[in-house]
Subunit: 215 residues, 4 copies
């Protein structure tokens, strides 16, 4: 029905509105310090209303992770599908895509590890949990395929592409978290981008198959 559809769309809009507010609040405070009332204020809604759209605080939070995973999967698929790039260039594109993911939501990424706590996971509805897993899988598959192409091409050393994807993701997350940590302790400038570039250059060198070293 047209009416049903319109209602559905309206519902989606409200969810967005809340999630945007939540993102802002979770970015400023950590998950535990952020209160539902903070989020309600930021969204210019009442606390009760949030519960009409999200089962509880954990699901609201998890929905944010879903959102960034969605963005990531799109960006990575895009890199994968770029025909004109050779595998080496794709690694660079991969790095850039990840940096964009970071820019899309710099601070919530840090909180994403919170999501993993078994307590939190227990609280999620199975559907939401499945969505999160699925989007993770899709993103990793895209990454893995990039490496697969490089290996087929003979341009990359023959290693398990899934493992390479893991390493890339770990490297990326680790750098983001580490830079954030240093910022808190030393109040230093944010070198994230340049660190990321160097890390990926090293990574790229490390997985490139050596050109026949001599003759």
């Amino acid at each position: 029905m047209g009416i049903k559809e319109r209602k559905e769309r309206e519902r989606g809009r409200r969810r967005q509105q809340i999630m945007i507010a939540a993102k802002r609040v979770f970015s400023e405070k950590s998950f535990n310090k952020a209160t539902m009332e903070d989020i309600a204020n930021e969204a210019e809604l009442s606390p009760g209303t949030i519960y009409l759209y999200f089962k509880n605080k954990d699901e609201l939070f998890a929905s944010l992770s879903l959102r960034i995973l969605h963005y990531m999967s799109i960006r990575l698929e895009h890199v994968l599908k770029e025909k004109v790039l050779d595998p080496s260039e794709k690694i660079q594109a991969l790095q850039e895509a990840l940096y964009e993911v970071y820019e899309f939501d710099p601070l919530v990424l840090i909180n994403m590890f919170h999501l993993q706590s078994s307590e939190t996971l227990r609280n999620l509805s199975p559907d939401l949990l499945e969505d999160i897993k699925e989007l993770s899988r899709v993103s990793f598959a895209s990454m893995a395929k990039i490496f697969e192409q490089g290996i087929k091409n003979g341009e990359f050393i023959d290693r398990h592409p899934v493992a390479l994807a893991d390493i890339v993701w770990a490297l990326f997350s680790g750098i983001v978290l580490w830079e954030e940590s240093k910022r808190l302790i030393d109040n230093k400038k944010d070198y994230l981008k340049s660190t990321l570039e160097m890390a990926f250059e090293i990574f790229g060198q490390g997985i490139k198959a050596c050109p026949e070293p001599v003759s």
Copy 2:
């Protein structure tokens, strides 16, 4: 006096007892879910007693981080001082050292990122905070020197050693956190060690100065 010494040692033992209990509890639950009562029960002490040895929950937690940092700094210095190893081998030794750090306290490492929250840092006594910073510095200096030697040797590409140390640490932390995340979501076997090995092999290849690619 002998008496004073014995008391001091006794005090140290109690602190250890509490920290061991705290480590267990913080590993099972997250920092926020773990209550002081949980820890007291685990240590078979009363809640009040914990406060005789640690100013508050944050300092108890931070003391655990200090403990692992201490262990790490010793292991890394040891790697640095190994005369018989050439830089390439030292990278491998570095990887093993980090894995041992992980084994020393697998789950608290995850919580270490909690330590960085500005709220937590504010709560620490200046001395403890300084100790933590100092041990971090020492560990990083050791790592950086390993790369410095390699660069001087001409065996590594000339990159900023401090940045390399950052990348190694981020890589390590990222892998640990990432493996832990996967374990929670998928309940899968722990591939950490092999992932770590591959990551370090790649890293090693990536920073090794290419042998003259011939002409």
Copy 3:
């Protein structure tokens, strides 16, 4: 709007409800022995609700003092403005007014000295503190003016009216506290009113300018 007004009035009612309960509880137990839970039970509300209307225990307590100061300032101004009374009669009216203040809130007056503890004052919001100071000032000004009039009239000995007001207040407070003390220790009947009357008669005699003792 009507709605806003009604809400505001509703809010005021709740505050009253809580303050009445708090008054009862603080009267039975001392500030420190009275718990927020006691007060919540007495008000037939949950503990959390109290915090919707009062920032903390100290402000709830201080609000009670504000209430009595408000009542006092009105009563005293009334005495001051009575045109038909001559200064001597005003002293008697003053005594009666103070006794009414006592009846308005017999036991919390005792606790009012608690309010002065520096710890408590630190905890109050500046506005509330300022209100308390202001109402005190107003009440004292009224008292002082009564004496001023008597001195101008030549009916009272020329002493500093502010000092006289201090003495009256000290006398009143002292008698209330002292009667209360005796009640607790000896379980005796409450002679407050007659003690107060005698004290004021003495005071009145003491400040009255002697009629030319004749010759």
Copy 4:
């Protein structure tokens, strides 16, 4: 036995030592903020030791009140017995005696009202409570007798001497508390002595029998 006596005297000394420390601590902090550990530290003893000499915190506190009451009863009896003073001068001497009591222990007097809380009284041993009551009675009897003499002399108006004693004590306590209150709120200089003098002059005038006003 000489030994028993010496032990007894030794015991008394320890009690004094503890009470002096307690007085200092209770003067700085209020009863509730002062901890037994604070007092133990001040007395350079361990917390446990205090309990060898005082049943509990309340009794330690009450013992301080007993001490000041003892001092007061001596001072007042001394005033009463002064043969050379006429009743009018005795009122002045009374005022001076009370001021000395204040100087003996300025801040604990404020806390003395704490003693009256039913909770505290319940905690005292009957003997101690009886001692406190007895010393109060003695002091008040002394005061009352001063007024009795004045009435017999025809110099004071015939009012109930016990009631006059009540008023004097209330006046004194009220002024002390009131000055203390003002000091806390306004940080003003301490006018206690001059307020006390004026109050007693007024009081003296008020109870003096008027010289035959005319003829």
